[in-house]
Symmetry: C2
Subunit: 242 residues, 2 copies
């Protein structure tokens, strides 16, 4: 391309990679060169400044928009978000990996495995009518030989018929579902509760102890799969990162 010598406009400073551009844009935001709410230059203009193609600028800015740092609208241009909030994400949503990362061996013991009509609270969470027969599974997760978490799960057998033949001695319901019903969506509710007699017994702690609870509802293609309530033993902390 560009035969001959010293053609005009070799990118003035060839800092042309979407990462470089993204970093520079973030620097300008962080240092308030582009304050919150401000309209920043358009893609073509930035492409000229950085000496690159518009697609490269687009890639850099698109990711920042997805991350909530920029607001982009056609015709209106690109603005720095007024409230540039980073969304923290959970690292390890699989119990076995949580246990192993703490340096212990994961085990689990099935306390109950029955079929029962869904209680109203569970049914409403899953968008089913109360009284539907669901699989009810209660499991104690162990770290070494200490109780780690108590799991109370309701599972929609119509959505996951294969589950009935799963050997829960070899794999936990949690992990089987992650491996076998991929691409689910779900809601998480996190809360703190005082241990009641039953849970205190299972987790080998005292009634009244503050316990960390996760309630998860999972769908696959709009169809309800499972509702699970996880009650962690005292001292559990959940890590997130931005």
């Amino acid at each position: 391309m560009r035969e001959g010598i010293t053609v005009r406009s070799p990118p003035p400073t060839p800092v042309n990679s979407w990462q470089t551009i993204q970093a520079e844009v973030m620097r300008r935001i962080a240092e308030r060169i582009w304050p919150a709410g401000e309209l920043i230059p358009g893609e073509v203009e930035l492409a000229e400044e950085f000496g690159c193609a518009r697609a490269t600028v687009n890639r850099a800015l698109r990711e920042l928009a997805e991350a909530g740092i920029l607001d982009r609208k056609r015709r209106a241009g690109t603005r720095v978000s007024a409230l540039p909030v980073r969304k923290p994400t959970l690292e390890v949503p699989i119990i076995r990996l949580e246990v192993e990362r703490r340096g212990a061996r994961h085990g689990h013991r099935v306390v109950e495995r029955t079929s029962a009509p869904a209680p109203a609270a569970v049914a409403s969470r899953l968008g089913l009518t109360a009284g539907n027969r669901l699989l009810h599974l209660r499991t104690l997760h162990l770290a070494g030989n200490r109780p780690f978490a108590y799991e109370d799960r309701w599972l929609n057998p119509i959505a996951v018929p294969e589950f009935s033949s799963v050997d829960l001695a070899t794999i936990s319901a949690n992990e089987w579902l992650v491996r076998n019903v991929p691409l689910t969506t779900g809601d998480f509710l996190l809360m703190a509760v005082n241990a009641d007699e039953t849970v205190a017994g299972l987790l080998e702690t005292d009634p009244g102890a503050a316990l960390f609870v996760v309630e998860r509802t999972t769908w696959y293609a709009r169809r309800p799969i499972t509702f699970v309530r996880l009650v962690y033993a005292p001292g559990y902390t959940m890590e997130m990162h931005v």
Copy 2:
């Protein structure tokens, strides 16, 4: 382009958009046409199949790789992740918005605002040496006139000198920081604790009540900004979504 009539190979079914391709790839994963761990066709091959440019396939697959659904390596090709875990994200990390989304009016009352040497626990979290003088801020957040959360914050005055002149009657430290120190990174620790006498009094609950706690450490460009411990009033639930 392509002058003349009925040129060969107009994309057999012109399903060519990265969303379409991504959806189709997800369908094949979900229906185990491409099982977990499997090597899927290369970008060029898929581009031919979908009748589009390789860049379009790349965009579709890249996003799935970032989401943890695919594993991509040069030369080795693209595989379906063995453990296709979706990472749930927190929706609203700003207290005022949390309160308002619950339909209440947010207010806050500063309990203490002093300068004090950092306790060892706080200093180590921030990567500072114990005894450094930090701003210490204790605040009660209100929903209507009910206590909502108790905030115990330590702030590095060197990193945020402007903070000393902030009028905390008009804006909370939380929100001022979000607005004025953008693009921070941070760790979150979530846990459950039993209320002690002091906190129970502030939150108008009983000692021993299970309380939801968030501990956040925030950096900007590797420099420690703030450590904050938020203790929510009983009944609080935090929502996440995948």
